[in-house]
């Protein structure tokens, strides 16, 4: 089975670098599945888990925004923050989720609302990536 190289890079370090069979991401225009020999592509990403398929097994990473660059045999995801599924503190993510939900429930100011929504998305993405739900 042919593979492509997946790299996830943040400003601080390289979070992930592996040969995978398929990458599934959520772009701003919709969900995308990238197989080897994909046409070169650049797209911003939503805050969502990224799925990598390696020999029939799935690996999840929580990627907070950023964008993806696809080349023939390489996919580079640049994000301000990203974590691998196994590194995620699920309990903390759950707490963050609850906190965000509480904040969303009492809608006082506009800016708070937006921030809470982003926080909720991040928390959900983390929980999913960690295989929590």
């Amino acid at each position: 089975m042919s593979t492509l190289r997946l790299e996830i890079v943040t400003p601080e370090r390289k979070v992930y670098e592996k040969d995978v069979n398929m990458v599934v991401v959520k772009g701003v225009a919709g969900e995308l599945g990238i197989l080897p020999n994909h046409i070169p592509l650049v797209t911003p990403l939503k805050i969502a888990p990224v799925k990598a398929k390696i020999d029939g097994k799935d690996e999840y990473m929580a990627v907070h925004g950023g964008f993806m660059e696809v080349r023939k045999d390489k996919v580079v995801i640049l994000a301000e923050a990203a974590e691998q599924g196994q590194d995620i503190d699920v309990i903390r993510a759950r707490q963050a989720k609850e906190r965000a939900e509480r904040r969303l429930a009492d809608r006082s100011t506009e800016i708070d609302h937006k921030r809470a929504e982003l926080a909720l998305q991040r928390a959900l993405s983390r929980i999913t990536a960690a295989g929590g739900e």
Binding site: V28, V42, T43, P44, F67, E69, L78
Partner: protein
């Protein structure tokens, strides 16, 4: 003990203590410098990749327009100043801030024409003392700053440019050359230089953009600018530790020199005291004969 000797001895002791401290600080800074350099190195792939993609979009199609690429008439300039929180780093912060002050005096006639974003306690205190308006400040940065630490202030500055509050954004920081040389730098961050973008050349991949090149650019350009701020911060951190290491190295050297000199004076005084004592004894013995 003759008079003066006790003082000299005390002075030697105090210099020795000082030397111990500066020596320790030098070694700590050396270790931190290494770490800061590694951090700067680790941030490079992200910045390089981002630049590559931004350049290939902005330079490739040519038709892409974005406010961050367009030069407007400069009515108001924002300065993003990066300094350290702590001193004892030689002339690092002073040189940088002096350069900033000279530029401000030359280019602007009133305080309405500029605004300053500042990172680091040294810079903040300096500007406050001189009544220069500070738009936003961040202090208490750790020795290994994360992107999240600078994101708010960088985003605020970039947004100020985007919505037209400022027509120019200048980054002020110490560029790291090596442990001995740091160069105070004023770098125009925004608008991004379109000619530089176009002239990037090299191997450009022909990308598809989803949803469109403009929209991708819209997301990427602010990120790119923020990343540049982050790299500048890491650079400044490395400069800080480098400068401190050198300054402390010099201090240790000076302390050694002073100790040597004082020891010499002390020994001379000691010898003089002994000589005098002998002369007195001999004088006394002679008188008795």
């Amino acid at each position: 003990m003759a008079k003066g000797m006790r003082e000299i001895k005390r002075s030697i002791k105090s210099k020795q203590n000082m030397k111990q401290i500066t020596k320790a600080m030098e070694m700590v800074s050396a270790a931190k410098l290494k770490r800061a350099q590694n951090a700067a190195l680790a941030s490079r792939p992200y910045a390089d990749k981002l630049r590559e993609v931004v350049f290939s979009i902005a330079g490739g199609s040519g038709s892409v327009k974005h406010p961050m690429l367009q030069t407007r008439e400069v009515k108001r300039t924002a300065y993003l100043v990066i300094t350290s929180d702590r001193g004892l780093a030689g002339g690092l912060n002073t040189n940088l801030l002096r350069k900033l002050l000279i530029t401000i005096r030359e280019k602007h006639s009133s305080q309405d024409q500029y605004s300053v974003f500042v990172i680091g306690r040294k810079g903040r205190d300096f500007l406050r003392r001189r009544n220069i308006p500070i738009a936003q400040e961040v202090t208490g940065m750790t020795d290994s700053p994360t992107f999240a630490d600078v994101k708010p202030i960088a985003a605020a500055a970039v947004q100020g440019f985007e919505n037209g509050t400022y027509d120019e954004l200048v980054l002020v920081y110490n560029e790291f050359r090596n442990a001995i040389t740091q160069i105070p730098t004023l770098q125009k961050l925004l608008p991004l230089d379109a000619s530089e973008l176009g002239g990037a050349g090299g191997a450009k991949a022909d990308y598809e953009y989803e949803p469109s090149a403009e929209e991708v650019l819209q997301v990427l350009l602010p990120k790119y600018a923020e990343t540049l701020v982050f790299s500048a911060l890491l650079d400044n951190k490395a400069s800080e530790h480098g400068a401190r290491m050198t300054a402390m190295g010099n201090a240790t050297k000076n302390a050694s020199k002073m100790i040597q000199q004082l020891t010499l004076t002390y020994n001379r005084a000691r010898q003089a005291a002994i000589t005098q004592e002998i002369a007195e004894i001999v004088g006394g013995a002679n008188a008795q004969q």
